[in-house]
């Protein structure tokens, strides 16, 4: 399966990013091939609707499980429609969370915060 994590930097030792929609990168782990790749988050710069765009980006990667510290309502709606499982990260580094996840130690994320639309309007 493919797992995604919002991260601060595009290397294996990276920390998990506090924000899902505005994380600079997403780490993608393919558990079958054991390959780790990084994609740039083009939603990070959005004025508004970053959660929607980020979730679309992640869903388009055919991700099955997302590990994240938090998730907004809009992103959650998209991810749920995409039938993706969302888990709450418990550790500061991406690696630690991947290990915890594979051992079945991460809990599902159930609380989604309301959006904070950073629209620039006029």
């Amino acid at each position: 399966m493919k797992i995604a994590i919002p991260v601060d930097e595009n290397h294996a030792g990276t920390a998990v990013c506090a924000s899902l929609a505005r994380a600079p990168y997403y780490l993608i782990m393919d558990t079958v091939s054991n390959e780790m790749t990084f994609i740039e988050n083009t939603a990070a710069d959005s004025q508004g609707g970053a959660g929607v765009k980020a979730a679309q980006l992640i869903a388009d990667q055919k991700i099955e499980a997302l590990l994240t510290p938090r998730c907004g309502q809009n992103a959650a709606e998209v991810l749920t429609a995409a039938k993706m499982e969302i888990y709450k990260t418990e550790y500061p580094s991406a690696k630690e969370n991947l290990i915890a996840f594979s051992s079945g130690l991460l809990a599902a994320l159930n609380e989604f915060h309301a959006g904070f639309h950073g629209h620039g309007g006029h």
Binding site: G49, Q56, E77, A81, A114, G121
Partner: protein, 288 residues
């Protein structure tokens, strides 16, 4: 005659001034454009209330006609659309109601419905006609509501007071766009003067005739806002003293002009000065 009352900073007395000026007049219309935190109605406690919802257009998808080309998703600058599991999802709270998705859809699969983002409350309080805009908490933009509130402005003859939101962002611009005169309220603090400078820039950018009323003035104390006005040559139309009794009455949601003759006189005089200044500066051929 439309007079916008504004200040760069919150809590300087915009609402106190606009509510009391409206009350001091023979007849006036009060428009509360601070739709995030409207307060005028708390003072007026208007009667004969009518409520109108304020709506914006949100896209509705005909999923049968949709072919999944994603042109709408790619077009939307606000990221209000997503395409997941062969279905378009719409995110109301992020949508700016521009109508673009419906235009670009090659299949004509997008129509629109009306979503309520707030309301307009109208009523009367003795000689004042009161209109207040309320934005629902969590909604993105109050601009459509401000537009509805301003649409309630009567014709030329009646005095209209526009209570603006604080600051100088787009919601303030929207509020002063059609004003004939801008009355800036300033308090005698460093913060007050700093923010007065900002809103002064806005008022000048719009080419609006303007003046200042200094609020919470302390006898004998230095007034950085007054200094700013003198330096910039901005007419000061009046000074409202810092007064514990005024503060007590106002903080209880009472209208000063109706509470005490002293305040009625104070605001009648200020109203006269404002009307004179506005009449003087708004020549018949002046540009907006």
């Amino acid at each position: 005659m439309k007079i916008a009352v504004l200040s760069g900073k919150g809590g300087t007395g915009k609402t106190m001034v606009s509510v009391n000026l409206a009350t001091a007049a023979q007849r006036a219309v009060y428009l509360d454009c601070d739709v995030e935190e409207p307060n005028g109605h708390l003072y007026f406690k208007p009667e004969n209330l009518t409520e109108e919802p304020v709506n914006v257009k949100i896209p509705k998808i005909d999923h049968e006609a949709c072919t999944g080309c994603r042109q709408c998703v790619d077009f939307c600058k606000f990221n209000a659309l997503a395409y997941i599991n062969k279905k378009i999802m719409v995110f109301d709270d992020v949508c700016h109601s521009c109508g673009g998705c419906a235009i670009v859809c090659p299949e004509g699969a997008i129509s629109e419905w009306d979503k309520t983002i707030g309301m307009l409350l109208s009523g009367t309080s003795e000689s004042v006609e009161v209109h207040s805009g309320f934005l629902k908490p969590g909604q993105a933009s109050g601009v459509p509501i401000i537009k509805e509130v301003l649409a309630k402005a009567p014709g030329e003859g009646t005095l209209t007071l526009i209570d603006c939101p604080p600051g100088s962002a787009c919601v303030v611009m929207e509020s002063i766009k059609d004003a004939d005169y801008c009355l800036m309220v300033a308090e005698p603090t460093l913060f007050g003067a700093h923010n007065l400078a900002m809103v002064y820039e806005l008022v000048r950018l719009f080419g609006k005739p303007h003046g200042v009323v200094l609020n919470k003035c302390l006898e004998g104390a230095p007034n950085p806002s007054e200094t700013f006005c003198i330096e910039q040559g901005i007419p000061v139309l009046g000074e409202i003293p810092f007064d514990l009794e005024l503060g007590a009455i106002n903080s209880n949601g009472e209208i000063l002009v109706r509470a005490q003759a002293y305040f009625a006189a104070l605001f009648s005089e200020l109203l006269l000065k404002v009307k004179e200044a506005a009449a003087r500066e708004t020549a018949p051929d002046s540009q907006r």
